[in-house]
Structures are given as C-alpha cells and as structure tokens.
Amino acid sequence: MDTNVGPDEMLIHLGPQHVAQPGPFRLNVKVKGETVQDSEVELGFIHKGIEKILESKTYLQGIPVVDRACYLAALSNEEAFVGSVERLVGIEPTERSQYIRVIVEELSRIQSHLLGYAEYASFLGFVSMFMYPIAVREKVLELLEMTTGARITHSYLRFGGVRDDLPEGFEAKCKETFEYVRKGVEEWGELMKTDMIYRERAVGIGVLTPDVASDLGVSGPPLRATGVDFDIRKDDSYLVYDDLDFKVCTETAGDIDARIWVRIAEIYESMYIIEQALDQIPSGPLFPENLPYDRRSPVMRVPEGEVFYRVEDPRGEMGFYMVSDGSDKPYRVKIRGPVYPTMQALPPLIKGTQLADVVAIAGSMDACTSEADR
C-alpha cells in the first residue's frame, strides 16, 4: 500500500490491539471521507514459529504443539498432523477410531462456528448477542471435555487411533445438548431474518463473487457462501465421511449474511453427521493390531517420504505438508491454514466499502490470527 496520503485522505491503524479483532494483527486503512481506498494487513505479532518447533520435537510431542496453532480448530489440526504421519507410516486407523474422530471433529466444528457467530455479533454491535451462543457453546465443550479431558487443546488423537473411547452416557448427553443447540440457533436465526437494523448492516455488504473468491484462494464458509460447493470432506474425502450422508452447505449471495447462514447450516449438518455416526459406529478396538510402534512411544522412526494431507477445518482447507528423512523427528512441516488466504483476501474485499463496515466484514470471515501467525 502506498502510505502517502492525498489532501482529503487519512491513514487509520486498526489494531494490533482492538476490541473487534480475533487476535492481534494490524489493519492499515487508507480512507477518503469514510470510503476505504486501500488497506494492508500486518502480521507477526504472535508468530510462534510452530513449523520450526515441530522440527525439534518427536512426532508424539508434535501433537500438543499443533493443537496450539489455532485452539478453536485443535482437533482438525490434530487430524491433519496425525493423518500425515499415518500416511507416511502406512497405518490405517480402526473403523471405530475413525468414527470417534469424525464425532469429535464435528463437535469441534460446531463450537467453532458458535464462537465465530458470537464474535461476529459483537463486532456488529450486538454485544448481548455474544453471550447466547457462548452459553450454548459451553454445553458443546462439555461434550468434548467428557470425551477428551480438555475444553480446548485436547491432544486426543494418536497415530492409528484415539486416546480414549467415548465415555459412558455420551449419546444421551449428545441428544440433550443438540436439542439445546437447535433451540438456540433457531431463535437467533429468526432474529437475524427479521431484525431490520441487522439486515441493513449485513445484507449486500462485503460481497464476494465466486470467480473472485476462487481467484483469491479462500476456502471454507466464505467460499461456500458464494455458491462454490468446495468441501474437502466431499471433494478429497478422508476418514469415514464417504459412508455418511451429508450435504455441502452453500449460499449464493456471497455477502456477510450469506457467510453467517452457511455457518448456521453447517451447525445443523454437523449435528446430523454426529447423530448418524453414533448410530453407525461399530464396536471394536481403538487401535489396529499390527501397530508398528507402541501407542505412547516417544521415539518412532518414520520412513523416508513426504505427504500432503488436507482436511476440512471449521474455517476451510487445512493441509499439512510433511517431509520425513527417516529419523524420529519430521524434517520439514508446512502448515497450510485456511485463515492465511482468508486474511490475505481482506484488503481487496474491503476496498470501496464504508469504514464502519470493515469490522463487520472482517468479523464475518471468522479469521483466527493465531493460525495465520503459526
């Protein structure tokens, strides 16, 4: 961005600390009057060097580290990491483990979308609306906690399976929780369809067209809101998603409102997937019999090779590129997070909009700075 300002232009810095930001990043906006002329994103305030750290950790030690790339999507980060190692070694998780993974990952998607919705509502100025999804999300987190033992950073997946089986009474608690979630989401949905102030702020604002969205490389709900039905669970299927019946949720408008409706539809769809998975889940062991390593083995030598494995994160396409040189630590790990291209797409998206809409548009993209700043 050219930082020279003309006679009636002004440069505004949003962040790195700002109440309406999911994490610290700086958005430099050049405005003329109230119209955004140009903008630029500055990153690096919480760069953790996770890719470098992973090179100095054994494979097992890597699991809690990738959790922290983005704590809202901890389970899908783990899935991408653990799945990459499994592909390098050639381990196939047992069917029961695969179903359990689907269940916890979909629960994680629900809680992430609920928080995304809550934050977005508060960015729009509905501050009390922040609290309602959080209350519902807490119930979903309880389900995750009773399964994995932690609310947000779980370290639950293992090479070839999962750490623990589903706890007793999980299915009944799921049923109870989902009723609660459905009731909540329906109520807010009604509000969003009818509230005129909300509609004025969200409909037709921050529009992405399918061509532009694919050109910018965004994935996940912002892309599906434009009508492109790209979902890794369908298009590059993994685990047992092929055996489950679900649809890819899309909208066509491509504006702020459409992105929120895609997330809401996905909350329903995820609950539907979990219900099916709980019906279909076979009994059996959690780990395959011919596991080449002990399941808690701190030292496991992974055969030489490389792999690119991607999964559908709550925010889009999460891929791991892993190179192994045959030692007990990865030679190189590249984390391809979904938020990185989404944040990169922010400047072209907010160009020409009103300054007051910038926060609403950024909020609707549901970015997670922590993951862009791995």
Binding site: L43, G44, D215, G217, D236, F308, Y321, V323, R336
Partner: protein, 163 residues
Amino acid sequence: MIGDIMDAEKIIDSLTSKFPEAISDTNTESERRISAYADADNIVEICQYLKDELQFGHLCSETAVDLIQKNEIDVVYHIGSYDHPVVLTLKAKLSRDKPQIESVVPVYWNANWYERETYELFGVQYKNHPDLRNLVLPDELLGDWPLRKDYEGFPQNTAKNLV
C-alpha cells in the same frame, strides 16, 4: 468430476507432452496425489498452463524445503483444483547459495503471502514479486533465514524475550 487413476495419469501425460524439457521425475503417488519436478526457469508458464488447461485453479500452498546435504533448496507448490480432487506437488530445485525463482503471483494471486513468507524464512528471492518484504518476522531477523537447517539462533535469538 474427474478423479480416478487414469485422470491423474492423464494430467501427467498432458504436462510432459506440453513441457518435455521442463518437467521431470513425475510420480503418481495415488489417484489424488501426483508430483513432478519443474525447471525453475519455466515455472510461470507451467503454472499458467495448469491453471488454464488442467483446472488447477487453486494454489493450496507454496513453501520451501532446505536440503542442506545436497546444497539445494526445493521450492514446493501444492496446486489443487475446485473441480477435481487431484493435488499436484510441483517442485523446483534452486541452488542454496543463491536461490532465485520467478514469482507466480501473476498466475495465482494468493501466492503473494506464501512467497513473502518463504523469502523471509528461507531467503528465496522471488523475481518480479509485487511487494517482497517480511511478513511475520521482525525486521531484525531478516537475513537470518530461520527455517534453514544451519540456522543456529533457535531458540536463543527467536525466544530471547520470553525466557
């Protein structure tokens, strides 16, 4: 939607017949994953061809791997598609002493940040990049190339304010 083993091979065939000189070491790892080495000088043309003719419209990621023993840096492009599930891992070998390659930003817009990050972490110089400067690193770490294997400042320099 295409996606069976034939199509992964069709893609490779199409690439090698179009660029017989520039494409080498092709490999069909599975029906959804193929890989190839590309000549560093032709990288933009190859990407343009992939995007226009073979529906590879989605750059998943771009990064580098430091192969210190061979004194090489491999620039790695993962190119996917919105229409088929095949992901192509395209690599270009660069000399470790002076890694330099043409930027693919004119073809894939979102390569911009990936190239900036690869530049600051590995020291790969991208020619004709619109805005090649550091993205996540502070200015004082620029030039250390922290993700190279011979970097010695980890964690002493990078975490000095934390411990």
